[in-house]
Symmetry: C2
Subunit: 207 residues, 2 copies
């Protein structure tokens, strides 16, 4: 089992140009998709790659709800902001990324040598929410790059009614939506112009 592999010394390598292009420099957010379906296997593999990205204390609070086309998809479309509705409606696959408000219930499994952490998170809901949303959002970043690592285009959208999606799909309150991501093969007119990135000097400082 992959989970059990333990390497004394991982090999560190620079990502080659093709990899850089696929994940970063050449990749873009897709606005349209072809009708080519994305298989359940591909969707699962997107997760099983993304899951290796690091989180604080290994808490892995991200959860993934894949919503198939048809009746279920319609339930999601109606909570999207207007210009995202047609995109979600037409995408071959759509993931609702959420964080699990009870991620700490897995402490015995994922951080067995620090069992006290479960009670600490249980006792402090504010810290738990801050830590859970932060780490799930880091994982959302890994997830988007993992979609691309599978030769697929991602269309992440934060423009939706979060409370509406939560009430619709997570009525017991355990999961809470963070981001909706369309997934598929890019269709006609998928790419807008590349938007400008900030000048390095406005972002990076040195001390």
């Amino acid at each position: 089992m992959t989970d059990m592999i333990e390497r004394v010394s991982p090999v560190l390598e620079r990502l080659d140009e093709r990899g850089r292009a696929a994940l970063f420099t050449d990749a873009r957010t897709a606005r349209t998709f072809t009708s080519t379906p994305v298989s359940d296997r591909e969707l699962l593999e997107i997760w099983t790659l993304a899951k290796w990205g690091p989180t604080s204390a290994n808490m892995q609070p991200l959860r993934v709800l894949y919503v198939r086309p048809g009746v279920q998809r319609e339930r999601l479309v109606r909570h999207m902001y207007e210009r995202n509705q047609v995109r979600v409606d037409a995408a071959p696959a759509v993931a609702v990324l959420a964080w699990d408000t009870r991620f700490h219930h897995y402490v015995p499994e994922i951080l067995p040598f620090r069992p006290e952490l479960q009670d600490m998170f249980e006792a402090d809901a504010e810290w738990r929410a801050a830590d859970g949303t932060f780490n799930a959002t880091l994982q959302a970043g890994y997830f988007i790059l993992s979609v691309r690592a599978h030769g697929l285009a991602a269309g992440p959208m934060s423009g939706f009614d979060v409370d509406g999606v939560n009430a619709e799909f997570f009525p017991d309150g355990r999961w809470r939506a963070l981001l909706v991501v369309n997934i598929g093969h890019p269709g006609e007119g998928a790419w807008g112009a590349r938007l400008t990135r900030l000048a390095d000097g406005d972002v990076v400082k040195w001390l």
Copy 2:
């Protein structure tokens, strides 16, 4: 200039096994580093790759403060939680990742066709903070994978006194710290055991 390249149709490709290993499956959080320095050029390139990851409305709120060894590093070490102090002290390079509370000031440059967004963010500080921290955290995920894409090991840490770091390095309140990331070549004892990932069925659901 790379920023000006516009491709009608990016080539989508699956990441090969070496790339998957370097960024995800074989990569690990490093706890120690060799004394081999990381050049300023490498540190800048980590950013110039990570910057291509997508953010909502292209707002790119993440900021990066690199803190060199010596006097400046000592200012940071004292705000780290205990077991992170020696790690930050010994790392060849350290980045404080932060979000810019005034990221919306760049709207005319980064989203020129929606100038009204600047006023909307200005008027709603709560939405601005939620959006800014969310998108900067997504970018922190891209940043960690970009460190790895440069053949370097990352040591991300959320265990520090956030208010202390903010007061120490960002006294004007404009930037706010999110994560501290050690960067370098892995040293002796860098790797702990690979921590368990959650079972797929506890994370991924289908509708």
